[in-house]
Amino acid sequence: MLIDTLFHPSKIFDELSKENAETMASITRFAILIPLLPPIFSWIGGNQLGWRLGGSEPVFFDTTGSIVFSLFYFIMLCIGFISTVAISKWMAKTYGAKSSLSLHLSIFTVICLPLVVASMAHLYPDVFFNVLILVPALVWSITLLYKGLPIALGISSDQGMLMASSLVGWLLVAAVSLLGICVSLWMNGAMVILGI
């Protein structure tokens, strides 16, 4: 199933459109991996190799700092994922799409999987390397969003396009909010000393 979600997403979206409880259950069990794996990879990479933020030497966080960072990352991903599923379910009414929660949860699990796999790049925590790996994964996920949404939700490709664009708008706002929240917390004391 995991292989199919990555390499044959159309097949999975077709299956999801039938709202088969078994199919949805087999996909949603991967949902927990979405907020869990990236912080784990990031924690391992940060501890073993240090983060390369662009400066000449890698930056190592102390033990507490790295745990706090990973935990915060996990919480943010949970909020981001759950809110996106909730917003998609809410938007479905506007676009005349199916609005079952488990269906939307399954769809976004499939859409996010390329990003989760690409988050393995955190094991080598160089910011540029991560951008290089995560950007194509992001393009893949966005493609899945535009292509998969109308199939799985049983709406026309036109309505799917509109709904996907609205969700892209939400995701961009969520991403920049995350950036703003992190920076704000950093400046208000929740910072880690960048030691060399």
Partner: protein, 479 residues
């Protein structure tokens, strides 16, 4: 005497302005791409002053804002004001004068920037002879626009005209006040304001140029063309009017957020931050109005690149108008200020909102002006994906670069010494600048594709003649 209602709309001037806008888009975006290459390989200036970053950068911004942006705004304002007033343009020869004289001013202004003439004020770099020329032309633009509205056959002034009207009035006010200066020679003048006052006036101008030109003017486009393309009335007309007045009132206060942590009073900075946060409400009201309008539409998107571009532009409009107020919060601004995050923010608006909505409008407008189908739907669809991927790649590269810069600049050791030198940090930015160069090339190639597509659509065709509809008053119908 010929009845006005029997005359044709003056659309030839619209066609010409669209063509000029496309030319400026290619030129100014190419300069932008060249600049991003110079940041990677500074030797690309070949030791020539006129090719240096400092001279090319204002050429890029002025070319985009005044060449591409204003030409597109003039075109769409002239097109929409005729149709929403049911009357041809007032003083059409003056409209033609605006069209050609504006291009000459932008061209000569651009050359003057390369020659090193500059007032040093961002987005207002042009020296006093050009400032006077712009003032005269802007008044002419206003005469044509408001003259048409004054002679309208429809009682209501449609919402797009309020936004275009706001653009004309506010930009005139900002331009004149900010450029008050004492000339000392043909190529040099000194501002009437000094020190911190000069900075406050400059950013009152700078931010509201973004507000009333790049936001308000383009919202004028959105409010006319989105309902037309969706074949739907605007979702909530009342909301559009409320958002116009709230937008106009709150935008004008927000400029000093560009001067956080500078030598202006603390309360001015805080007031600007609060007003910037309030600004989110009217900005998003227009976005919601647009999205809800199009969501009710039954128009097919797969063969409608125009609508696809406009829908996507609304998503980026939502991002940019959220990100701006967020970056005005002082605890965020302390990191983002003077970093590439700001550059990313500007381009999420410029590429994602301004360029994409303009592209959508041009894809709608040009086939109608030419009276034939778009030359290639396939090219337009390729352009859509190039524009989307170029914009997202640009934003992500600049977010990563900006946050790294901000945090590394603020990183100090236990003795209070900087952990990283400025040179080290800038040297480490090369990969991000490489990504930005690729993003710029992708976006520019999409723009070139579109220009070719629209050129082939309009090639050999004269602008279609359209008559205003005949209005029959209700009292006459009853009689």
């Amino acid at each position: 005497m010929k009845e006005e209602s029997q005359q044709f709309y003056h659309d030839e001037v619209v066609t010409r302005l669209v063509q000029f806008s496309l030319i400026w888009a290619i030129v100014a975006m190419f300069v932008g791409v060249y600049l991003s290459a110079e940041l990677l390989w500074p030797e690309l200036d070949f030791g020539q002053f006129w090719l240096s970053f400092g001279r090319l950068r204002p050429l890029h911004t002025n070319g985009i804002i005044f060449g591409f942006g204003v030409s597109a705004l003039m075109a769409t304002a002239f097109y929409t004001v005729q149709r929403t007033s049911h009357i041809p343009l007032f003083m059409p020869k003056l409209a033609w004068f605006c069209c050609y004289a504006w291009q000459i001013v932008v061209l000569l202004g651009g050359l003057s920037l390369l020659a090193g003439w500059t007032s040093t004020k961002e987005y207002a770099e042009l020296e006093w002879p050009f400032d006077i020329a712009i003032t005269i032309l802007w008044v002419c633009f206003g005469v044509v626009f408001f003259g048409t509205i004054a002679r309208r056959k429809i009682e209501t002034i449609y919402i797009s005209n309020w936004f275009f009207g706001g653009l004309i009035i506010v930009i005139a006010m900002l331009h004149i006040v900010n450029n008050l200066a004492i000339p000392v020679s043909i190529d040099k003048s000194y501002s009437l304001y000094a020190g911190a006052q000069d900075a406050v006036v400059q950013w009152w101008y700078g931010h509201n140029a973004v507000g009333f030109l790049l936001t308000g003017g383009f919202l004028g486009m959105m409010y006319y063309f989105l309902p037309k393309m969706s074949n739907q009335p605007i979702w909530s007309y009342r909301l559009s009017v409320v958002s116009f007045w709230a937008f106009t009132y709150s935008y004008i206060w927000a400029g000093p957020h560009h001067l956080h942590f500078n030598s202006i009073p603390e309360w001015v900075q805080s007031l600007a931050m609060v007003m910037s946060l309030i600004l989110l409400a009217p900005s998003w009201a227009s976005m919601i109005n647009g999205i809800m309008t199009v969501s009710k539409s039954s128009v097919k998107l797969h063969n409608n690149p125009a609508l696809k571009f406009i829908v996507l532009s609304l998503a980026f409009y939502g991002l940019a108008t959220f990100e701006g107020p967020m970056m005005s919060i002082k605890s965020v601004n302390v990191v983002s200020h003077f970093t590439d995050w700001t550059v990313g923010h500007v381009h999420s608006g410029a590429l994602g909102w301004n360029a994409m909505i303009t592209y959508g409008v041009f894809y709608y407008l040009v086939p109608r002006l030419a009276g034939r189908e778009l030359y290639s739907l396939r090219l337009a669809n390729i352009h859509f994906w190039l524009a989307l991927s170029g914009t997202i790649l640009y934003i992500l590269a600049m977010w990563a670069a900006g946050v790294s810069q901000g945090l590394l600049w603020m990183s100090i050791d236990e003795l209070g010494q900087l952990n990283y030198t400025f040179n080290d940090i800038m040297a480490s930015m090369k990969p991000y600048y490489g990504l930005r160069l690729i993003a710029g090339l992708v976006f520019l190639s999409g723009t070139i594709l579109m220009s070719f597509n629209l050129f082939m659509t309009i090639k050999g065709k004269k602008t279609v003649k359209v008559k205003p509809p005949t209005i029959v008053k209700a009292s006459e119908v009853a009689a």
